[in-house]
Amino acid sequence: MDDILQCEHLSVAYDTSPVLLDLSFAIPAGKLVGIIGPNGAGKSSLLKAIVEIIKPLSGKVSCFGAPFKKKREKIAYVPQKEGVDWDFPITVLEVVLMGRYPKLGLFKWARQADVEAALNALQLLEIEDLASRQISELSGGQQQRVFIARALVQDADLYLLDEPFSAVDAATEAILIDVFKRLRDKGKTLLVVHHDLQTVETLFDWVIMLNTRLVVCGEVSSVFTQENLSKAYGRKGEIFVEMIRELERKKSGLSS
């Protein structure tokens, strides 16, 4: 299978300080990919550069072998929630329907099929009973589910998710993981910015490790190693990996 996403010598800077330097990697189809790295490593910036919200300093990104603009409809992006205006008068259903706007274009209104798709997505995320609520009445986890539902109705082939698990409850996390795995099994590709190193091995097939530069990109089983982690996280990371090892030994009864 061809690579779905390709970065070639991508560099990104805010003002003058670089956040991403000379990234080159390629992601094959049908993978659940975790993007990890310390704070300020440029994880969110990578996603923003892919959807061309920030302009790269140099290098290029291609999605499905073409520039992003030509393949916009095949890509769904779920940003972090801080840009959202929670006071805006909008219901959950209206938010989810936004996912259909790229397909509808400027002049067509949402059809019954679009509404149906939105309701289905809400049902999949188990919040169909909240459809007519105002978005700010929901809990943080429920809000996150709404945004995932919006991405689902985009019917994309590549999903870019910026920290979907941050500040969500356990029930939401379980549902999201289930949805992500289902998407992967349908042959979709997901890039997920992720925080929690402990769950990387159980969640993802692939991992991109960043620290302004690319540390490594590849299958979790072969690249999620202590050596690479300490490259990405420095000494702090080393201690963390040691702790994980210790935890595993204790759990499996190897040490007392």
Binding site: K48, I53, R72, P79, P89, V95
Partner: protein, 439 residues
């Protein structure tokens, strides 16, 4: 309403037709654009821009009188264009001040006062040299619907239609970009582009509005319908529609109010249409603020008061439960509430069949009252037991929490507590917990 003057006269009578239909169209456009400006936090920009139109009006009037005398239609167009031009200049002025990193409020104040100042200087000059021109300018300052003609109807109909079409086309871009700008960018909706379109619409709406309500009161027409609508609904489509309706109803009522007074020829102060419309729109906003079912302050206040009263009733019942009979004097002694309130509550309880008077000023619970009170006591003691057994609270801290919680415990929670605590019979203070079966 007098015999010769009906509501529908407003739409047919050649004298009233112009002002009424003109201001209906005007308020439709301004309310819709105002609603969007309100959501985009551009209310104050609207205020600054409406004042910034004034020098444009003055220049427009002068140009029209000099170049196209006696040509009403072209003169009107020139005036409107002048107003639009300086509003646009005002917009540029605000933006360039913001670019050199000044504070937004400073930029708005500066633009508002400097543009208005220029306009007032020009118009004062006219006041001395060309009084007829000055009168025309003044129309735009405080607004005057009464002198609008069929020509205005056509002109405003065209402009309002344009604004409505623009909003329909931009509907989804505005919704997405205002609500979640980062996501909007990812699907190709540029925040900057949307914002510029909204600013342009704002200028057009203001130009449409100033003839009727005037430069000074313009923002009222923009924002008041949106404020009212926002209190009533949380759905974007409904919010826009409601704003438009509230704007139009205000215009209609404002015209009606103003014309009623003219028709009756009463000694009342002459009521200009623009301010009447703005006052009615603000009145509707105030009503919504007080009475909205979900967020109205009056409604919230009543709900709070009702809850407080039901807590007091619960407390009174519990206190009565501990005695066979009590005198009014004793009840006053418990200090549950003030005398007047207690008196009324006792009467309510009596009417409800919870309480009976055995003799003068001696009260006792009825059988039903006893059951209800015992249930409250049960909730209280269940909660105390729960705190001690499951949350490790010490005995001396639990009463206070239970006093509060007993008012919130629903039957479902009560069932859960009963199950969790294995249908207990004694509370932590070794007091009996009234049985459920008996109730």
């Amino acid at each position: 309403m007098s015999d010769s003057f009906g509501f529908f006269t407003l739409f047919c009578d050649p004298v009233f037709r112009g002002p009424v239909i003109g201001s209906l169209l005007m308020s439709l456009a301004t309310a819709l654009v105002g609603a969007i400006a309100f959501l985009g936090r551009k209310s104050l920009i609207g205020e600054a821009l409406s004042h910034a139109t004034f020098p444009g009006v003055v220049v427009g009037v002068i140009l029209a009188e000099v170049i196209f005398p006696e040509q009403e239609a072209i003169a009107l167009l020139v005036m409107l264009f002048g107003a639009f031009a300086t509003a646009f200049l005002g917009q540029l002025c605000i933006e360039s001040i913001l670019k050199i990193r000044q504070k937004a409020d400073a930029a708005l104040c500066y633009t508002l006062s400097s543009f208005l100042g220029v306009g007032v200087v020009f118009s004062s000059y006219l006041q001395q040299s060309h009084v007829a021109w000055y009168r025309k300018v003044q129309l735009f300052f405080y607004g005057q619907a009464a002198t609008m003609t069929d020509l205005h109807i056509y002109m405003y109909a065209a402009l309002s239609l344009g604004v409505c079409i623009a909003i329909l086309l931009l509907y989804r871009s505005i919704q997405t970009s205002f609500f979640d700008p980062v996501f909007a960018e990812s699907i190709g909706i540029r925040k900057k582009v949307v914002s510029s379109f909204v600013s342009a619409l704002l200028c057009v709406a203001i130009v449409i509005g100033i003839r009727t309500v005037g430069v000074v009161l313009m923002t009222g027409m923009l924002i008041a319908p949106a404020v009212a609508a926002r209190y009533v609904t949380s759905r974007f489509s409904m919010f826009l529609q409601l704003s438009a309706w509230i704007g139009m109803v205000s215009a209609l009522l404002g015209n009606y109010l103003a014309s009623e007074m003219i028709m009756k020829g009463s000694q009342l102060v002459y009521l200009p249409t623009g301010p009447a419309t703005v006052i009615i729109a603000s009145g509707i906003a105030l009503l919504a603020l007080l009475l909205s079912p979900s967020r109205g302050s009056l409604v919230k206040g009543v709900r709070r008061w009702r809850f407080r009263r039901s807590c007091l009733i619960d407390n009174l019942l519990k206190a009565l439960w501990k005695h066979e009979t009590v005198s009014l004097h004793q009840i006053y002694g418990w200090n549950i509430a003030n005398k007047w309130f207690l008196h009324r509550t006792l009467a309510t309880l009596q009417r409800g069949g919870w309480l009976q008077k055995t003799s003068k000023s001696i009260y006792g619970l009825t059988e039903d009252g006893r059951k209800r009170a015992a249930y409250m006591v049960r909730l209280h003691r269940l909660w105390e037991l729960y705190l001690v057994q499951h949350l490790d609270h010490s005995l001396d801290h639990i009463h206070h929490s239970a006093e509060e919680m007993e008012h919130f415990i629903t039957p479902t929670i009560e069932n859960k507590l009963t199950k969790l605590l294995l249908d207990p019979t004694q509370d932590p203070h070794n007091q009996p917990i009234p049985k459920k079966e008996l109730l």
